[in-house]
Symmetry: D2
Subunit: 288 residues, 4 copies
Amino acid sequence: MSGARDVWVLAAQCPSRLGTVDVVTRFLKEQSCYITELHSFDDYQGGQFFIRAAFRPELAGFSEASFRDRFETRATEFGMSFELMAPDYRLPVVIMVSKADHCLNDLLYRYRTGQLSIDVRAVVSNHPDLEPLARWHDLPYHHLPITAETKPQQEAQVRQVIEESGAELVILARYMQVLSPELCRHFAGRAINIHHSLLPGFKGAKPYHQAYDKGVKLVGATAHYINDDLDEGPIIAQGVESVDHSHYPEDLVARGRDIECLTLSRAVRFHQEKRVFLHGRRTVVLAG
Amino acid sequence: MSGARDVWVLAAQCPSRLGTVDVVTRFLKEQSCYITELHSFDDYQGGQFFIRAAFRPELAGFSEASFRDRFETRATEFGMSFELMAPDYRLPVVIMVSKADHCLNDLLYRYRTGQLSIDVRAVVSNHPDLEPLARWHDLPYHHLPITAETKPQQEAQVRQVIEESGAELVILARYMQVLSPELCRHFAGRAINIHHSLLPGFKGAKPYHQAYDKGVKLVGATAHYINDDLDEGPIIAQGVESVDHSHYPEDLVARGRDIECLTLSRAVRFHQEKRVFLHGRRTVVLAG
Amino acid sequence: MSGARDVWVLAAQCPSRLGTVDVVTRFLKEQSCYITELHSFDDYQGGQFFIRAAFRPELAGFSEASFRDRFETRATEFGMSFELMAPDYRLPVVIMVSKADHCLNDLLYRYRTGQLSIDVRAVVSNHPDLEPLARWHDLPYHHLPITAETKPQQEAQVRQVIEESGAELVILARYMQVLSPELCRHFAGRAINIHHSLLPGFKGAKPYHQAYDKGVKLVGATAHYINDDLDEGPIIAQGVESVDHSHYPEDLVARGRDIECLTLSRAVRFHQEKRVFLHGRRTVVLAG
Amino acid sequence: MSGARDVWVLAAQCPSRLGTVDVVTRFLKEQSCYITELHSFDDYQGGQFFIRAAFRPELAGFSEASFRDRFETRATEFGMSFELMAPDYRLPVVIMVSKADHCLNDLLYRYRTGQLSIDVRAVVSNHPDLEPLARWHDLPYHHLPITAETKPQQEAQVRQVIEESGAELVILARYMQVLSPELCRHFAGRAINIHHSLLPGFKGAKPYHQAYDKGVKLVGATAHYINDDLDEGPIIAQGVESVDHSHYPEDLVARGRDIECLTLSRAVRFHQEKRVFLHGRRTVVLAG
């Protein structure tokens, strides 16, 4: 926790090999960086190593550029990719929605109050309904309607808006359109979707109706990265809520809203705090 | 709760119609039976009514036979089926296992200490391993090995043991054999299975391995009635446990044990307390 | 669940006695009211009976006034107090806040989207900060500052605002002032407070700091009715969240927000749906 | 997770200072020890650093004694205390009970099946009741009755049994006697107790009865180290279960059993895996 409190974050991964931890921790010590929280995991089946360090420079004049340059050299030797995040970094995002507003309302509340260190650059929707909510938070709202015919053009517009916004993450906060495979590939690992079921159960449309038919006693939500296989992207977070026979599909829809909000915002926070690593079809989440 | 404390239980269902509650509650009053807990539910989509009343006779000389006879007349008019259970009733059961003993150990502990009002008549297994555990509880243990060739004969033996035991419920406490469709049909609604996943996700064999492959962040267990569609019987209870990237399949297996035990024993308790009603492919659980 | 779907609700309580259920259910049948959900509980220790019925009139021309009149006669005989609620009833409330806005934001979202059948008449605060949020929802905002000296006058103003608003429930959504004993008594059973700890642990101020000092591994929230004993009013709902050593007091404050929102809104919903009965220092919640 | 799989564990703590991580990780690399899981935490308020590393020696001929000797030198410089645990280490324990057997049954099941890497040396009780359960697991059972007059002598016997057994941890699995301050001090940090409430709420006797009186909607259990302040020792783990108005004190007692078992065994596992660090009145649990 408290990952953002005046600390830098270094997150890295590389193939498993003796010394992977040492290359990181020794460097941090040499740079007089005090490690406040450290978590590493080695997947012995996949042969891949993951590490996340939160640290505080102890010397005045800490230079991000110089840190990067010097660490790059060490990392290269281990085939290590890494990310470095400054304490005051707010992740630029675009949020995509349709008509349902619960996830948007929740994300914007956390954005406005600083609970999520994100910088919402725009809200994009295929419907006009949620413009007032976006406007109240002083955010640009792009209404980009879509039909079967205009899908390619609309997706091109979506891409353009996102690119021009400088967003590093796209949040699909109940955007009820199936993205084209091209767009999925384009955003792979850079877009988080909330699906209203415990994937891989109940893929596709109307999962709460499917859940009702099966008579399940638990419903849930899954936040996952987009990849080119719909509803099969790497899972970041899941949440669950108990239900019973008296919940008709529309009750499940209502009951699922809270858990969707909580699960999506948790996934966004994990991502923003650089706790999530893509690892094939799975994720490693160094949750601290 | 406290359903068993010196109270009788009347559980009934019938097609929806004005007066379904009244026919039960008026009768109870006429018989000077004091209702301590009452729960009814009407499924307006399915057009079916369910009720469960816990009550205490206030007059000396309460006669179960006479109560049944008299209520039968009223119930018939509404097409109502019902069950009546005495305060001291302990449900006769047979438990079926293979080699894994966690659910058996848990059930026998609750049986021995009276936490479950069941009367375990026998333990049946296709392996000899768990005989000592059954013996310590002074229970007959039937080792009935099975091969592809002997399956029909073995299932005939299983049926015979169960019938001779007088069991009203069969508990499949991690019995790792697929029952034949005939046996499933035979036990439909009278056998509870624990499946080690959140059905309908991960049906079939090795669900924890499937869960690992998908990278889920929650695993669970499902207790359901057996019917003729494997792993598709009506769900009674589900439980869930959070996991992460560091849990390999064998860790998931270990981690799932507790939730399997809790979910199965909860389902057995609901069934024993006459809280569960079969309703098509679903259940109604008047959990109180 | 689905308590509000086109159904009336009758909630009643009286001293325990044979026939308490029958007097309700027989009457409903006589009035051709179809019971969709029924729940009763008898506290044998306290000698008090509680019942909640959701029902749908089957005849045209159902008259609330006539129903009340006729049922009154029956109820009187049993010393039964009761409440009747129409399907479209939205409970008039006033929300009181200070500077923290998470519970207000959550309640207003549920109000605006109809998830809570409440009619927010006004927001009252001892600070001006949350006026924009109230205004965006088109709600009157009463800024009534308070000091030790002006407390009696301020409380008189608060009372007046609430009375003039016609509110039947006051929601203390993180109002950080200790109400005077007089005001507590005045609102006893008609005001719900959210306390940010699992009462009775950590009463009083700064409960998350207390929790940190004790090194607890769970923090929680408690929604309770106001009575004349501060933080000791009857509990309606509680929620919990796991924490660890890395959560400093300010992290606990942040982490507790979601569970405060969920617990408070659940309590308000239970109250609005007439599921909560005051019973001495405790509540009976017929949660369905 | 899977901390025990063929890995050594090094757990250490010392005052906060630049290089605390490096002194551990550099040494491990020099010794050709591959780190499979690493977790460190620095308490900036308390100025204390904690680290836990799971590792696998990559060279044949790894010598525990030599590792200890060499690391000792490095650690001394940082004022670092440490523990080293071999992969096959099973922690010797003594379990103390009275009449309630649920926690004992659960612990012995996990011991027998290897789910807990403990070596139960003896069961001690002030009552004879649980001897058959201990005997079935081939364990010595010491029946040491106690009265107000014989308390000093009995405690001396308890101490002797524990010392002679070679136990490194004492598990108070619902031992219903208040230990003397001397015994508490003697076992400080080496004895884990399960208290059947969410401490610090409901200290002392009959916590479920206290919980009933307060009308709480959640009950829980707390596993904590013994220290000289009764029910105030550092908390290791807590668990929670929802309850309602229908649960009388005896129902709460019954309902709490499962969560007591789960919470106690989790705390014992954390301790055995060297995940728990004492830190004043609190614990740091590097749960992985």
